[in-house]
């Protein structure tokens, strides 16, 4: 599958429709071979079939897209793990790529590889400036489009999408966290390198400069989490809560564990049925099959939780060491839909 191009390489790759709108690095055989070699795996090894077209993502095919995204060869193992994760049935990439909703796969990296590859987990981590974050996330996007067929406006019909569809990759600021990392919480060893993939909306910044106790910080955070999707959405699934180091220090300083945080938020994020009826304070609300369980929903006070269970609130610490902010990163996690998927980087 070699193409001879006589025109300007950047323009020629645009003409072939294989970019994300930004110029790509021309995938010469030499560059691709360097990346495959750095992965220590065979180029023809099949990593995954990528929905919705179920295209074959071999190590080499992923390397071509990683080169185009601007990855250094040593980033490839992270991209391979990310592709494997999004193609896990539990991630539901078919739905994520086709929905009219706006999710983008967010990659969260844990382990020593963050430092080895200079993956930003500190100041400005959701933004520009770090090659690893910018290009690893972009490589995954290019694989989803070029191998999976998720072309925007053709198969990928998101009404809005969001800028994270260009690239969406962060590291956890493990050194600034008072708790176990996301990966350790999910059964990996502290020395393991992992990726966690979430079909995610853009981060919602939560500003709270004055709270000095765990319940105060979390009351503010809860109010922002309450409006995920819309204020009457319930039974939601995996969602990331990213504490800045300063907020994490306040919460942990009160002796609160991550489980304490989850329990507090889960309990606080419940509303009575009568506040969730469609057509009252907004046309949307509880779905019909849920409403049918209540004889008189207009007057029923049964509490309905925002999240299906406390463990769906996934917590990590990241961001700059100055600033009393948190970020809520909502998942696209309907019941029976997408879930957080983790993979070891090898």
């Amino acid at each position: 599958m070699v193409t001879q191009l006589e025109t300007d390489p950047i323009e020629a790759l645009y003409e072939r429709g294989v970019t994300d709108g930004l110029p790509v690095v021309p995938p010469t055989r030499e560059r691709v071979e360097r990346a495959v070699e750095a992965s220590g795996r065979a180029g023809d090894e099949l990593v995954a079939l990528v929905p919705p077209n179920y295209g074959r993502a071999t190590v080499e095919k992923i390397a071509v897209n990683a080169v185009m995204a601007g990855c250094r060869p040593e980033y490839l193992p992270v991209v391979l793990a990310a592709v494997e994760a999004v193609c896990d049935e539990a991630f539901d990439l078919h739905g994520v790529s086709a929905t009219t909703n706006a999710p983008a796969p967010l990659i969260v990296v844990n382990g020593p590889i963050r430092r080895a590859l200079d993956i930003n987990c500190g100041a400005g981590l959701f933004g520009p400036g770090w090659r690893a974050n910018a290009t690893i996330g972009r490589a995954l996007r290019l694989v989803c489009v070029n191998v999976g067929g998720a072309r925007p406006g053709v198969v990928s019909m998101s009404t809005f999408a969001h800028p994270g569809r260009y690239t969406y990759c962060i590291g956890e600021h493990e050194e600034a966290s008072p708790w176990d990392s996301l990966a350790v919480e999910h059964g990996f060893a502290p020395g393991d390198d992992t990726v966690a993939l979430l079909a995610a909306d853009a981060p919602i910044t939560v500003y709270d400069q004055r709270s000095r106790t765990a319940p105060d910080v979390l009351a503010t955070v809860a109010a922002s989490m309450a409006v995920i999707e819309h204020h009457k959405m319930t039974h939601w699934g995996d969602t990331l809560l990213v504490f800045s180091p300063e907020h994490a220090a306040v919460v942990a300083g009160d002796g609160w564990s991550k489980d304490d945080v989850r329990r507090f938020l889960f309990e606080r994020l419940q509303r009575p049925v009568h506040e969730l009826v469609p057509g009252k304070n907004g046309g949307d609300g509880l779905p019909e099959h849920v409403l049918r369980k209540f004889a008189d929903p207009e007057h029923d006070a049964t509490p309905i939780p925002k999240f299906r269970a406390p463990q769906h609130i996934k917590i990590l610490v990241a961001g700059g060491t100055a600033g009393r902010f948190s970020a809520v990163v909502p998942g696209w996690t309907f019941s029976k839909g997408s879930n957080l998927v983790m993979r070891r980087i090898r």
């Binding site: 390489p9 179920y54 295209g55 993502a57 539901d92």
Partner: protein, 92 residues
């Protein structure tokens, strides 16, 4: 002249849509609800119109467990083996 490797999966063949029948008379028509809100309203009305304007052999109603995922294989097999025409309702 420089060589560039192909970032796409050239083996993946774009899917083709099935041939459309010229008439629905005598055909088995399956109406597939993808489980979006009010999909059933849309399909109820379609069923009414189909019975009024055509003479299908049968109209079968099926439902996906969730709109967020592709139809499970057993449901696809059930539909493919037993229907001439499929109408899928999105709604919302």
């Amino acid at each position: 002249m420089t060589e560039y490797l192909d970032p796409t999966d050239s083996v993946a063949v774009p899917r083709k849509t099935a041939t459309r029948p010229s008439s629905l008379d005598g055909k088995v028509v399956t109406l597939l609800d993808i489980s979006k809100a009010k999909g059933d309203h849309l399909l109820d009305r379609l069923e009414e119109l189909l019975r009024e304007r055509a003479a299908p052999k049968a109209i079968v109603r099926k439902k996906k467990p969730t709109f967020a995922r592709p139809a499970p294989d057993p449901l696809r097999d059930e539909i493919v083996g037993a229907t001439d025409v499929l109408i899928e309702a999105l709604a919302d």
